[in-house]
Amino acid sequence: MIYRESGTFKTSYAADMALYPLPLSRWTLAGIFLVLLVALPLLASPYMLTVCDLILVAVVGAIGLNILTGFAGQISIGQGGFMAVGAYTAAKLATVWNMPFWLAIPAGGLMTALVGVFVGIPSLRIKGLYLAIATLASQFIIEWVINHVTWISGGIQATVQMPPPRVFGIAIQSQLQFYFFLLAFAVIATVAGKNFARSRLGRACVAVRDRDIAAEIIGIDIFRTKLIAFAISSFIVGVAGALYSYYLGIANYEQFGLDVSIDYLAMIIIGGLGSVTGSILGAAFITLLPVVTRRGLAAIGPMFAGFDIDGVLPEVRLCLFGGLIILFLVAEPEGLDRLWRNMRTYFRTWPFSY
C-alpha cells in the first residue's frame, strides 16, 4: 500500500499483524478494487482482457505454490500435474454428474489436496533435492495416468469438454464475464494467502522452512505442518487448474506439462518467495513476458531484412525467461516484492532520506 505514516504507534502484537495498519490502507485497497472492477473492464481491449484472465488464473496457482515452496520450503516441481488433477476432477464432475461450478471447483481442489498429501508423505524422510525430484516424478506419473486411463481422459485426445460455469443462471462465456468470475477467485486466494501467512500455521511453516530441527524443538510437529502445507497448497493449485480448464472450455493434459511447473516456479522466484504480493506480481510478470516479447520483436523486427517474428519468438521467449530467472536470483533474490518494498521505503522518507 502507498502511504507515509508519521511514526510507529503500535502498542500490541495484534496491531503489528493487522492486515490494515492504517485507515489509509483500507482506502488504497478500495482504490485498487475500483480500478480492477470498473476502470480495467471498461478500458481494456478484448485482447488485454484475455491476458488479464490468464494472469488471474496464474495468481491463484502462484499463491498456492508459494504456500508450499515459499512459506513451507518444500520445493515442488509437480505444479502442472497437480493442476491437471484439479482440472480433470472438476471436468469429470461437471460433465458426468452435471455438477455446478461451485461444487466442481472445490471438489477438484479437494482431490488435488488428497494427491498432494500423498506426494507429501515422503517429505517426512526426504527433503530438499530428493523431495524436488519426487514431486517431479509425481508430475510424470500424473500425466501418464491421465493420458492412459481412458476413463479419466475420455479417449484418444485426452480432452474433456467443459460446460461453461453458470452464475445465477447466466452462462459465463465472454472474456469480460470470465474476468469477473476469475477475479472473485483471485481475491479469495489472495485474502486466504495473506491470512495464512499471519496465522499460527503460517508461522510454523516458516519455522520449518528456516530450520526444521529447531522448529521441532520449540514444539512444532514438523510432519503435520508439512502435510497441511501440502494439503492447503495443493487445494489452491487444484482450484487454479479447475479454473483454467473452465476458462479454456476443455481439460487437456497438454496444458499442464512440466513447462507449466517451471513457469510457476519462475513466478514465485521472480515475484518473491514467501510473499503473497510477490506471487501476484510474479504471476503478472511471467504471463506478460510472452506478450511483451512479441510486441518488442514486432517493434524491432522491421529493422532487419527477412526477419521472421514467429520463427524466433519461442526461442527469444525461452532466452528472456531463463535470463530473467538467473538475473533475479543473482541480483535480487527476494524478487519483485522486495523491489516494491524498497521503492516504498524510499518514498516513505523522501525527500529526507536520512
Binding site: T69, G73, I75, P122, R125, I126, G128, L129, Y130, A132, I133, A134, L136, A137, F140, I141, W144, N147, H148, R211, I213, A214, I217, I262, L265, A266, I269, L273, V312, P314, E315, V316, R317, L318, C319, L320, F321, G322, G323, L324, I325, I326, L329, V330, P333
Partner: protein, 294 residues
Amino acid sequence: MLDSFALILIANGLLVGMMYALIALGFVLVYKATEAFNFAQGEFVMTGGFIAAAAATVLPFWVATLLSIAGLVAFCFGLERVVLRPLLGRPIIAVIMATIGVASLLRGVVVLLFGSGTRALTMPIQQAPIFVGPVMLPPIDIVGAIVSLLFFGIFTWLFLHTRMGLAMRAVADNQQIASAMGIDVRRYFALAWAMTGVVSALGGVIWGALLGVDNQLAVVGLKVFPVVILGGFESVAGAIIGGLVVGVVESLSAGYIDPLVGGGTKDFMPYVLMIAVLMVRPYGIFGKAPVQRV
C-alpha cells in the same frame, strides 16, 4: 528361463544404461564437489551435440568432438563464475531455479544459433549391427558403453590417485576444513564444472549419433534424475548401477508392458521405480544420510 527376446532387451538395456550413466556422471561430479543440483544437464548434452554436429560438417568427426568438449568446458567455466558462484550458501531452490534458468536459456540460444532442424551426426564406425549369439547390438551403443566405462575409469583414477582428486574429495567432504588446509575451494568448483562439461559433450556426441541432434536431445537429461536418485547423488559407483538399472527397466518395460497398456511406459517406469526406492532408502542405494545439527 530367459528367451532370446528377454536377452536382447537386457543387453540393449545395459548398453543404453551405460550411456545414461555417462550423463549421470556429469551430474554426480558437480553435486559431489559443489552441492549444486544441475537441472540443465540435458541441455548441456544437447549443446554438446549441436556444437559437434555443426563442426562435423566441415571438420573430421574427432576434431568436432574435441571442439565440442572445448566449447562446453569454456561454457561451464563461465557459468560457474557468473551464475553459480554468487549463489553459494543460498537455499537449494535458488540453485535449482538458476540451473532451470540456464536450461531455458540454452534451449533458446542453441536453437537461435543452430536452427531447429534435426542434424545428423555420423560416427566413422561400422554401421551394421554386431551379433553375439541371438543378440543384436548396434555399434554406436557399444562405443557409447566403452567410452563411458573408460571415463569412469579415468575419473576413479583421478579421484583416488592424484593430488587434484584428493583435493576435490576434501572439498566435497567439507568446504570449510578444505579451505583451512590451503585448498582453493573455488578453483576446484570450477574444475568440477569443467569435468561436467567434458562428460556432457561426450554424452552429446554419443546420444546425438544415436538419436540425431535436435532440441529433443535435452530430454535425455530427464532420465538422469531416476539414475542419480537410485544410485545416490554423491556416489560415482551409484551412477553406474543406477544407469544400468534404469536402462534395463526401461528396455524391459518397453518390451513387455508397452504392448499391454499402449505405450509410453519407457519414460515413466524409471520414475515409478525411483519413488519405490525413495520410500525404502530415502537417500538412494549408495547415498549417505546427512547428519544434521541445530
